[in-house]
């Protein structure tokens, strides 16, 4: 289980479910400068960047993944791709590569062993914009994810199980999401059940709970509900978590409650680790907000 090879003929599917309700324009707890919606959009964009680069083989992008981004807010559940991919649901990663909505360019200073300094371009493509308006139709969002997955699995019955990465900052405004979440988790390929991971972020300074294996330390019913609908981390995801320095015992669920910015980043890194691919030693972790460079949009 969770061992199927991910190949061009047998790709897998990743769905980003992103809360775009009004409260997302508030800042993270304890940090008056970083709006949740801005940070989440940036993190999702960076995750997509990493997925594209992972699939890039010299000058072509291999379709190891089909990707959807579903935003929900107001009364609305909608595909969240901006630019040329607007309105598209599941998109092969080669098209994600081909059609970013924007590419921002910065310059990074590099020194070689002889001390010669030079600048190299660093590119920041983006596919979604930060949005925060209206209520939180979480149940409708889960239903839409389930619909997409159902169709996709019918065409890819033996693939590595799809992964749904859900991020929210608050309670559902259209009912208890537990039964819809379970419906997603009941879907399966021959390699295992669909994985649903949940990351909750907050504007309130309450204690963080990361990848718990039981609901004991969760503060309220909403947290317990999200725990119920968070899949246990398969071994390869646990390994990725441990490599990032995150405590993930056997039986840990893919669930973070009251995440701070760095645990949001880790959530997406763990959620997209997927395989036992060797870590990308060259992926410059400092790509976020490097200081002191000029910036211009392409």
């Amino acid at each position: 289980m969770y061992t199927a090879q991910i190949t061009r003929t047998r790709p897998t599917c990743i769905i980003f479910l992103v809360d775009q309700s009004r409260s997302m324009i508030e800042a993270f707890a304890g940090d008056t400068n970083v709006r949740k919606s801005d940070f989440v959009a940036e993190t999702v964009n960076h995750t997509l960047h990493d997925l594209v680069i992972r699939c890039t083989k010299t000058e072509e992008v291999r379709d190891y993944y089909h990707v959807a981004i579903i935003g929900y807010g107001g009364r609305d559940v909608r595909p969240a791709f901006a630019g040329a991919l607007q309105g598209r649901t599941l998109v092969p990663v080669s098209q994600v590569a081909e059609y970013p909505a924007r590419i921002e360019t910065r310059y990074k200073k590099i020194a070689d062993p002889q001390g010669n300094q030079f600048e190299r371009v660093v590119r920041f493509p983006s596919w979604i914009e930060p949005i925060g308006e209206g209520g939180t139709p979480m149940c409708a969002a889960f239903s839409e994810a389930r619909r997409l997955l159902s169709d996709w699995i019918a065409n890819h019955p033996d693939s590595f199980p799809p992964v749904v990465l859900h991020l929210t900052d608050g309670e559902s405004s259209d009912g208890n999401p537990v039964s819809r979440g379970r419906e997603i988790m009941d879907l399966q390929t021959s390699d295992g059940n669909v994985l649903l991971f949940n990351c909750h972020i907050s504007a309130r300074p309450t204690p963080r709970v990361e990848y718990p294996f039981d609901a004991d330390n969760l503060p309220d019913d909403f947290a317990r509900a999200l725990f119920e609908i968070s899949s246990v981390l398969p071994q390869s995801f646990r390994n990725a978590a441990i490599q990032l320095g995150v405590k993930a015992d056997e039986g840990s669920r893919g669930f973070v409650f009251n995440a701070n910015p760095s645990s949001v980043i880790q959530f997406y890194e763990i959620g997209t680790s997927l395989t036992s691919m060797t870590p990308h030693a060259w992926m410059d972790k400092g790509l976020f907000k490097d200081e002191g460079e000029e910036s211009k949009d392409e």
Partner: protein
């Protein structure tokens, strides 16, 4: 220890004095190579590279990282440049290697850096390429046994056929030294279970050289006539360390005969039995004559 060595040296001096009128002969090296891409991949997609020049006493096997930009191209560049380079003559082989790598990396990037390409290909290119590397050089000039560091050489079968080898290893491509079916040296890895981690690799970008080369192993040793030195990329190396004496022997015979189809059949059976991982495969067999 000192006293023991002096006594031994006295004996060897007695032996060699009678031979002193004969200059030590130059060794020669028979080389056989084998390379194959992973299952289902065309040969053009192979990211392993082998280079061999027995006359110059240089061999290399390089295994480009699958996730890296133009990995096969970087591997081939490193391998070809290894056998064509000037000799390393300074007292510090690590510095010699670093200087050599700087030139090779810069030359390789000249080919790629100017090209127009998509943002994602350019991002990948800008990070540079990476490869596991095992480079070997053997001096054809035989060593005077009295200068040998190895006290094991002073046996009844002692002969003046020793040659000195030096290996540069970064990553999980390996050198194995066999003497009469015994593995007497394995580097940088000697444990078949050690092959699953993500090793440090040789980067093409200059700004990554210092950190990567900090992990390079540079080792010297001696070999005698009849010894076989093997270079292998990781999947074959791990298989070799686990294989029993018969399997090793069967494999060696196939490589020595240079029968590609039969060798592939043998390896496909090992693959089917899960004793060999599906990956590009490269081996060089060097016999000291």
């Amino acid at each position: 220890m000192k006293a023991k060595n002096r006594k031994m040296n006295k004996n060897v001096n007695d032996l060699t004095s009678s031979l002193s009128s004969q200059p030590l002969s130059r060794a020669s090296f028979a080389t056989n190579t084998f390379i194959a891409s992973k299952q289902g991949a065309a040969f053009e997609e192979c990211e392993d590279a082998i280079a061999a020049d027995a006359r110059r006493g240089r061999w290399a096997i390089v295994d480009g990282a699958t996730e890296a930009f133009a990995a096969g191209s970087w591997a081939r560049s490193l391998a070809a440049n290894w056998i064509n380079r000037e000799a390393f003559t300074s007292d510090n082989p690590a510095d010699d290697f670093a200087a050599w790598l700087r030139v090779v990396g810069a030359g390789w990037h000249e080919e790629w850096d100017g090209r127009e390409m998509s943002w994602f290909a350019a991002t990948k290119r800008d990070a540079g390429s990476f490869a596991a590397f095992i480079g070997l050089e053997i001096e054809a000039k035989r060593i005077d046994e009295t200068k040998s560091k190895s006290s094991a050489s002073l046996t009844e079968e002692s002969d003046s056929s020793l040659v000195r080898w030096r290996a540069f290893a970064l990553g999980d491509a390996c050198l194995f030294q066999m003497r009469a079916n015994n593995l007497i040296c394995a580097l940088p890895l000697d444990d078949p279970d050690a092959f699953n981690s993500a090793p440090v690799l040789v980067p093409s970008r200059a700004e990554r050289h210092t950190d990567a080369l900090f992990n390079m192993r540079i080792e010297s040793g001696e070999a005698r006539a009849g010894d076989v030195l093997w270079l292998m990329s990781d999947a074959l190396a791990a298989w070799f360390l686990r294989a029993d004496v018969n399997a090793k022997s069967d494999f060696e015979m196939l490589i020595a005969r240079e029968v590609e189809a039969e060798t592939k059949d043998f390896l496909n059976r090992e693959l089917a039995a899960n004793r060999l991982r599906d990956d590009d495969l490269a081996a060089a067999r060097i016999v000291i004559e």
